[in-house]
């Protein structure tokens, strides 16, 4: 990678972003539509001195990430919806062991084997933990190839900073489409020291990486420590983009690929003189509630998703009944179109 500006797919941009962020361990298992990512890692991870493993299963891949992270590596895995479901056991253990890790989900249609069309129907799974236990991941949702690259780097930084798993949540369109990418080579933030990592106990007491707290009271104490960490993250790490909100009568709320389409609809509506704005959550957890404050009771919100209504629940929680929240969504291969959005906005205005 010598050129400063290249044409690259979202999947490859995530992989390159990870390598630029100092990721030195990747394990994955093939699944469409994220295969460009694993192929890119197979080629470039060894060239940058890291470890690449094609695992025998999603379970093995996420548990390899557990091991690599426990040993102090910057570790990542990637998959798509059915594979991410398989990884949930390991993600819960990673969360319970406070291990930093980056997990990429390039979503496809579900439930079950579903199809390989883009979708956003894993929002609940991503933002509510996904596996067993009281935990959260930081969930970042890029809307362009450039942002996929940038947020992957941010993801590694946040993972180390908070000792938390970070999910990069995209969909099949973002993963497969190609856009120009401006590389930010050499901008790696200084590595965060990991005195807890397993390196051999020379010169110190033995370290133990675990999520098991059997003695009465210990697990509750540990869970409260996790919750305290989540509270700090809620305060500091909520991210969103707000567009033309000041005079908006209808505010579209959409993330990722869906926000790109919503933005096109917004531009057409504004040209027609309609006062429409857009809130694009970039962090899905923590959800950027502050984007909805102060609550304007006269504003109507239209949440648009490639699902049958998942993020809309967080929007409703954010406005807490004080404003009207409407929903437009399709999934399973269907994507709400510009025209469908415009028609719905026209009805609301």
């Amino acid at each position: 990678m010598v050129k400063k500006r290249i044409l690259i797919s979202g999947n490859e941009a995530i992989a390159e972003g990870a390598i630029q962020a100092g990721c030195n361990f990747y394990a994955g298992y093939p699944i469409t539509p994220q295969n460009e990512l694993i192929a890119y890692m197979a080629k470039y991870m060894p060239l940058s001195g890291g470890v690449f493993i094609q695992a025998e299963s999603e379970l093995a891949a996420i548990n390899m990430v557990y091991g690599a992270s426990a040993a102090g590596a910057r570790a990542m895995t990637s998959s798509s919806s059915p594979g991410i479901s398989l990884k949930q056991e390991g993600i819960s253990y990673i969360s319970g062991s406070q291990l930093p890790a980056v997990i990429v989900n390039i979503m496809r249609g579900g439930p079950g084997l579903g199809n390989i069309a883009p979708a956003q129907s894993d929002y609940f799974q991503a933002t509510r933990g996904g596996g067993h236990g009281d935990y959260h991941l930081i969930v970042l949702a890029p809307a362009s190839v450039q942002e996929a690259y940038d947020l992957t780097q941010t993801g590694f930084y946040l993972a180390d900073k908070y000792r938390i798993a970070v999910m990069i949540l995209g969909d099949g369109i973002l993963g497969q489409m190609m856009e120009p990418l401006k590389l930010s080579v050499g901008k790696i933030k200084a590595p965060i020291l990991k005195p807890w990592a397993l390196t051999g106990c020379k010169g110190r007491k033995p370290n133990i990486v675990k999520s098991f707290f059997l003695r009465e009271g210990d697990l509750e104490k540990f869970n409260l420590k996790l919750q305290k960490n989540y509270e700090i993250i809620r305060k500091k790490e909520a991210r969103y983009e707000g567009l033309l909100l000041d005079d908006a009568k209808v505010i579209l709320v959409a993330y990722g690929t869906m926000a790109r389409i919503a933005k096109s609809a917004l531009n057409k509506l504004r040209l027609a003189g309609k006062k429409v704005g857009l809130i694009r959550p970039i962090s899905l957890w923590p959800f950027p509630e502050k984007a909805f404050q102060p609550i304007n009771k006269k504003v109507k919100y239209l949440v648009v998703e490639m699902s049958y209504g998942q993020m809309v629940e967080d929007v409703r929680l954010a406005v807490n009944g004080y404003a009207q929240v409407d929903f437009l969504g399709r999934s399973g291969g269907g994507i709400p179109s510009e025209d469908e959005i415009i028609t719905r906005v026209d009805k609301l205005i």
């Binding site: 548990n63 557990y66 690599a68 051999g200 106990c201 133990i208 675990k210 098991f212």
Partner: protein
């Protein structure tokens, strides 16, 4: 006077939580003695299983990681690849290694990962209350085979060590037994060989230990040792498999 016997440095001086007559305490100690004798305590990383030995890291005085049930060899694979200069081993029971973790076991072995595996075979699930294990003998009564394991319903005792020995990535497989003091000494030699192989970068080594579980065999500690010798070893013959 020369000191010829001492508590291993790699083992905390604690009372274990194991049942009377259990083999885990012996196995933990043998690992600790071998680690001390090879002078590798400060670079050893152990992977504790899910099962009775889940808190093995409370007893060993070196770095350790937990692993989800069955995933020890995936965790170990990554640790060893990231830190090839460290000595990495897994300690797993029959359910962990040969039922829920069979996939991880076979593929780590087939990749020839440079790891050492201590495989405790006591033919039963101990921690959950004595259910059928993949290695439960035909006719053996457990809480889920109340009339004894039947081949028609439950299949046969799984000889995972023999299966693994077929794989070219595996350099060493030996089955040992805690039925007698001589057996324990032989087990220690085998465990030491397994660690030495890793230090010499020879690949995947596995030591299967036939280990007593008096509680869920419904036998006395002495009766359990006799059962290993008289019954279990007929199904799982001792010796070097590869």
């Amino acid at each position: 006077m020369e000191k010829i016997f001492a508590h291993p440095e790699a083992l905390y001086d604690l009372t274990t939580h194991y049942c009377p007559g259990c083999g885990h305490g012996i196995a933990h100690r043998l690992v600790a003695e071998v680690v001390d004798e090879l002078g590798i305590r400060e670079k050893t990383i152990g992977i504790a299983p899910v099962g009775c030995a889940v808190v093995a890291y409370d007893y060993w005085k070196f770095d350790c990681s937990e692993a989800a049930h069955g995933r020890a060899l995936a965790v170990a694979t990554a640790i060893k690849r990231v830190r090839p200069q460290n000595i990495v081993f897994t300690y797993q029971g029959d359910g962990d290694l040969a039922a829920i973790g069979t996939n991880e076991t076979i593929h780590a072995a087939n990749r020839g990962e440079n790891l050492t595996v201590i495989f405790i075979n006591n033919a039963v699930y101990g921690m959950t209350g004595g259910q059928m294990a993949p290695t439960t003998l035909l006719g053996q009564k457990t809480s889920t085979t109340i009339n004894g394991r039947q081949r028609e319903k439950h299949g046969y005792p799984l000889k995972i060590s023999e299966i693994l020995a077929l794989l070219p990535g595996v350099c060493y497989v030996e089955r040992v037994s805690f039925h007698s003091p001589q057996g324990v000494l032989r087990a220690k030699q085998a465990i030491k060989q397994g660690f030495k192989n890793q230090m010499d970068n020879l690949g995947f080594s596995l030591i299967e230990v036939l280990s007593p579980c008096p509680t869920y065999w419904g036998l006395s500690p002495k009766g359990s040792l006799d059962w290993i010798k008289d019954v279990m070893q007929k199904e799982f013959p001792l010796g070097r498999i590869k």
